[in-house]
Symmetry: C2
Subunit: 368 residues, 2 copies
DNA sequence: GCTTAGCACTCTCGCGAGGAGAGTGCTAAC
DNA sequence: GTTAGCACTCTCCTCGCGAGAGTGCTAAGC
């Protein structure tokens, strides 16, 4: 009934049954893969290093711990698992997780409860900003990790209207409306006071001139026109165009990321050192690095995963990031996802991210 | 040269030299007060319980540890200090801090470096929002704790202009400009599509009618007029007034608090349990409780201090809050302050909060 | 009557020993 | 190729012990 919500990761999901997968350190056989999968699933469940006895039971292959030990030694040689110390069980490495995520994962459909939560939360309500915020909160709520939603530069945004309000003195408040009701505003200092009537005239002039046009085109035309025809132009209109230019600068930086449920990350033992958390939270308030990272995902198709150091940011070494784009009419609107410990339940998280993106897109599409 | 920046706490600052101060448990003599002061100052400096030997040296009164022990026992009887365990030094209680803050504090002028940082950060730049954000960041930066700035409901704000922008379908974007360039906007659904010309007419009508009036008056008049004259009125104007009412609802909730440097709190050992920090950070993102707390300070004169449980919020039991109002022309604009561990350097923090408020007010005043 | 030295006592903290438990690698037998 | 057995290793918990800091109380001193 809601089959369209389940993600299609067929080409990367099926644990292939007889093929051998080449790894850095050589080929790896089917049985070893099976054990790796079982080991990672176990480790994700209880967070402990997995020993041979445990794994032997878990894997359901009726092999003795000793045999399992041999296999584990092989996996360790291939760099897929490692032991924290000489006589403890094994823990997956980043490469191990990578292989798991790329080739071993069995993505199950989401629990109906979760689908319902997302579905009812992301109902169309006419306010895109609120919708996006909700998406971020839902992501964090359902996964118990931190939710991220990036609202990208609206490169394709359309100029709708510009308005000038005279404040005290020579200050003018410029208000730019773009797209489906995005409002950008900025206080501008002029060298000469303008009367409300003049401002009205200026706004009429600009609105008439540019309404419906692509925001980038408008920006370019403003620059060109100002250069070329400066002296021939009505003083007032020249000033109006300058003001328009100024408010467009603020519109440019609008691209932003909403983060919710950061504090969920405090509950994971593997992240629970103040040092790590502080740098993580600082990055969250700073936002720049998170933004860069999400920006890199915007080109990718489907669910994108960064495990541990793969992100390239040291402060995310113990974290993984699961993202996907959300799009309307095949045009990417933004990126969303979650950030959590490397040891996260990928099987559960991936569909959540995917479904949230689809539902958010659907909700956004509904506004005509 | 900047004497006006130093706070006037004369009536509460001077450690009185011979008077006895009544406490809950009886009178307390001058010498005991002196020791209390020394003890708290010491504890604030190094965070350790203070023993009799240390205190004897610190106090500079050339008394033996044994004598000091007697005094400390008295202080403990009065509930001003307590010992974490039988044979450890003493630590101030909330009552102890209270007495210290009310009667013993010697507020020294701020270090010139800090004054300079604040002064250059809070230069008038025409953007009140940015100014307020900077204030919060500066507070946290200079004190190494979390900075708070509350932007209160602008009860006294003035209606300046209203603008309607037609979006696709029957959706209309209403933009309300109040005060010195505060912009509130909201997407509104109408039952009938309006032409841009109609919307323009509506906005002209309302702006002309209400411009310069107190926002509360406008709100009241809207309600009254709609009730009374609904049927006699032009359909369009009735709808315009309804839309105006809707956007004013959003303007109502604008009252907000900016928090900066939360992560600084992770560096204090006494707060460094995940549990505490999580609830603290959750409160920071939730903001409601912080807002309530700051709201309570708005009536008070001068620097206001909540120590530990005095705030009434369990999650702030190990924290103190130092706040003050900032005002222009004797009218309170908002509240700002810092939040940090109970064991904070009040002597240093109080002037920082006070000076920041004065500088922020000065910067805000400059916009005419 | 305040101050002080002395003393027994208490509590924390750090260290090392010791034992339980989990898990390993290796070897040899199946 | 698989398995049982075995010696080994490493963590973790607990316990005991001693050092150190600080206390309260008592009795003597000014």
């Amino acid at each position: 009934m809601c089959g369209h919500l389940f993600i299609d990761v067929s080409e990367q999901t099926r644990a292939n049954d007889s093929r051998r997968i080449p790894t850095k350190a050589g080929e790896i056989n089917e049985r070893a893969l099976h054990f790796l999968k079982a080991l990672i699933e176990r480790h994700i469940r209880d967070g402990q290093p997995v020993g041979s006895r445990t794994l032997a039971k878990d894997a359901g292959l009726d092999l003795s711990p000793a045999t399992v030990r041999n296999v584990m030694a092989d996996l360790e040689d291939m760099g897929l698992v490692s032991s924290p110390h000489t006589s403890s069980g094994r823990v997956p490495t980043v490469s191990g997780y990578r292989l798991f995520v790329d080739s071993l994962l069995t993505v199950s459909p989401m629990e109906q409860d979760d689908v319902n939560v997302l579905r009812s939360g992301l109902e169309f309500n006419g306010d895109p900003k609120a919708l996006i915020e909700t998406a971020s909160r839902l992501l964090s709520g359902v996964t118990h990790m931190a939710g991220l939603v990036m609202v990208p530069r609206h490169e394709r945004d359309v100029f709708r209207q510009i308005e000038f309000v005279s404040l005290s003195g020579t200050r003018v408040l410029a208000i730019l409306v773009t797209g489906e009701g995005e409002v950008h505003n900025r206080v501008i200092y002029t060298d000469k006071a303008c009367s409300p009537a003049q401002l009205q005239q200026a706004s009429n002039f600009l609105t008439e001139m540019f309404t419906g046009q692509d925001i980038n085109t408008v920006r370019r035309r403003l620059v060109d026109d100002l250069k070329r025809t400066h002296r021939h132009m009505d003083q007032l209109m020249a000033r109006a165009m300058e003001m328009a230019q100024r408010v467009m600068e603020t519109a440019e930086h609008r691209d932003d990321v909403l983060i919710a449920g950061q504090t969920n990350l405090m509950e994971f033992e593997e992240l629970a050192t103040m040092e790590r958390l502080k740098s993580l939270f600082d990055a969250f308030t700073e936002k720049r690095q998170i933004l860069d990272l999400l920006d890199r995902c915007i080109e990718a198709d489907g669910v994108q995963i960064f495990i541990g150091y793969e992100s390239g940011y040291e402060l995310l070494d113990d974290c993984s990031l699961v993202t996907t784009t959300y799009r309307v009419e095949n045009e990417v609107l933004g990126v969303l996802g979650v950030i959590g410990p490397t040891r996260m339940d990928y099987q559960r998280v991936i569909p959540v991210v995917d479904v949230t993106a689809k539902l958010l897109a659907a909700a956004l599409r509904q506004q005509p």
